[in-house]
């Protein structure tokens, strides 16, 4: 399939990345050229091939549902840009 036009602003919002106009133009063009290149996969018959999510498949790795030591709240909050009352602080989410 030929590379469709990339809606860079939609992708940037999904990616949670604010782009300047210059960046939008530049990344749009670069993405298009990379996606054009990856169309080399079109040359191969991939129908009927199972997709691999990883190279050495390991499945259903369980552990016992038992609480184990983890970070203290001080350790977990140590790198927080903003914190209050032993919690991470963020802007208002719910109006």
């Amino acid at each position: 399939m030929s590379t469709p036009a990339i809606d860079i602003h939609r992708i940037a919002t999904l990616s949670r990345l604010k782009l300047t106009d210059a960046e939008a133009t530049q990344y749009s063009a670069q993405l298009a050229s990379i996606l054009d290149y990856v169309n080399v996969l079109e040359k191969h018959d991939l129908s009927g091939v199972e997709p691999s999510a990883h190279a050495m498949p390991v499945f259903d790795v369980w552990r016992d549902d038992v609480a184990a030591p983890s970070f203290t709240s001080d350790q977990a909050l140590a790198n927080a840009p903003r914190k209050s009352q032993d919690q991470f602080m963020i802007g208002k989410v719910v109006e």
């Binding site: 999904l14 990345l17 993405l31 996969l41 991939l46 091939v49 190279a55 390991v58 991470f88 963020i90």
Partner: protein
Amino acid sequence: MSLSNETIASLRQRLSSKEITPTDIVNDLVMTIEARNPEVGSYLTVDVEAALAEAKTADVSKPLGGIPIAIKDNINVTGQPCTCGSKFLQGTYTAPYDATSIQLLREGGALPLGRLNMDEFAMGSTTENSALGVTRNPWDLSRVPGGSSGGSASCVGGHLAIAALGSDTGGSIRQPAALCGCVGLKPTYGRVSRYGLVAFASSLDQIGPITKTVEDSALLLNHLCGKDARDSTTLDVSFPDFTKGLKDGVKGLRIGLPKEYFIEGMHPGVSAAVAAATRQLESLGAELVEVSLPHTACGVATYYILAPAEASANLARFDGVRYGHRTAIQGDLLEHYMNTRAEGFGPEVKRRILLGTYVLSSGYYDAYYLKAQRARTLIRMDFEKVFEKVDLILSPTAPSPAHKLGSISKDPLKMYLEDVFTIAANLAGLPAISVPCGFAEEEGKRLPVGLHLVGRPLDEATVLRAAYAYEQSTDWHQARPE
């Protein structure tokens, strides 16, 4: 000879005989780093106090007792920065825990020393994508050290360290090792726990050693492997003592040369060095066999769909809430995320997040991501078939020696295509090594060339054995920059 120039093996002998102390090694390294890091730029930070404190209490009866190991700045070491080469985490994150690989090295008696520069979030092949500094190739300071573990390879190749840890997602241990004239090993996927390694592409990332010799690589690997309850992708398999059997030689070993790897545009110095190495292995008793990996041409395309896709998910955690940079711009939650991430990430990281988000987005998932996962199966099956006939696969590590700083970083696609030889081992999860095999000449400078060997899953022993036999039959590992 300065202690910084020595290997793990040679220092261990001198430590055991009490000829030197761990403090002597740390002091020597600190002097070397002070003298030479300003020009090579391998290290971002060095916590001398912490290292000296650990050296004082090091137990030299342990297998790695008293050996300092330099650490790529994406592997967590308690109390140390972990910038991942990014402004996002510079000055805003101190690791509250040790990665499993660091715990294992400490149990072996080693001590972490220094944080090494890298391409930002491990995305790149030259370390030029680091937001925090320039790293240069110790063999020619106007050239790149490779990437993303450029700090790791340059400090080992330039003798500003005894050994280092790196991480490899598409070649990021092996390629810089090749360009800096040292040994870089990527273990089988699942051998080494990724707990504590800042994730780039979770199905491809592996931590591994970068060392001056193959023996040192085996010594470190003994203290990195193992199933880990905190990384459910680790394999529940035992591992041998990788130093045993190193000297078994290559008689009777079958080594495959994939015909698809003899590409146009390879640097003649690289072709010549690898051809000579191939003949050398033959003279040591290996059998060289032509083989075919028909889906080789899919490798780079498959990787540059899968890795950015996984990266876009892994880097979603950098949201300015729990750690790292936080924008000062006021706004709602979405604006907070958009601005924080735009300010904190560099261009290559943004490019890959955008690309990854695109190929995973509704309407494009099947066309790109699923298709790449199918191609990945075919690539893995190519290797399975070939390993019925041979024990190892040989190629150059990189198609050319180190480029000049600034020469290819403008064209992302051109940079991506340099990964052609290393990438398949990540996609198929196979163990692979780069070992020095000579030099290519460019503008009167000798630039290292790496030989790349790939083995069957879990067969690091054969990979190491062949690399050792080759290494010991040459003196490339004794060459020094300048």
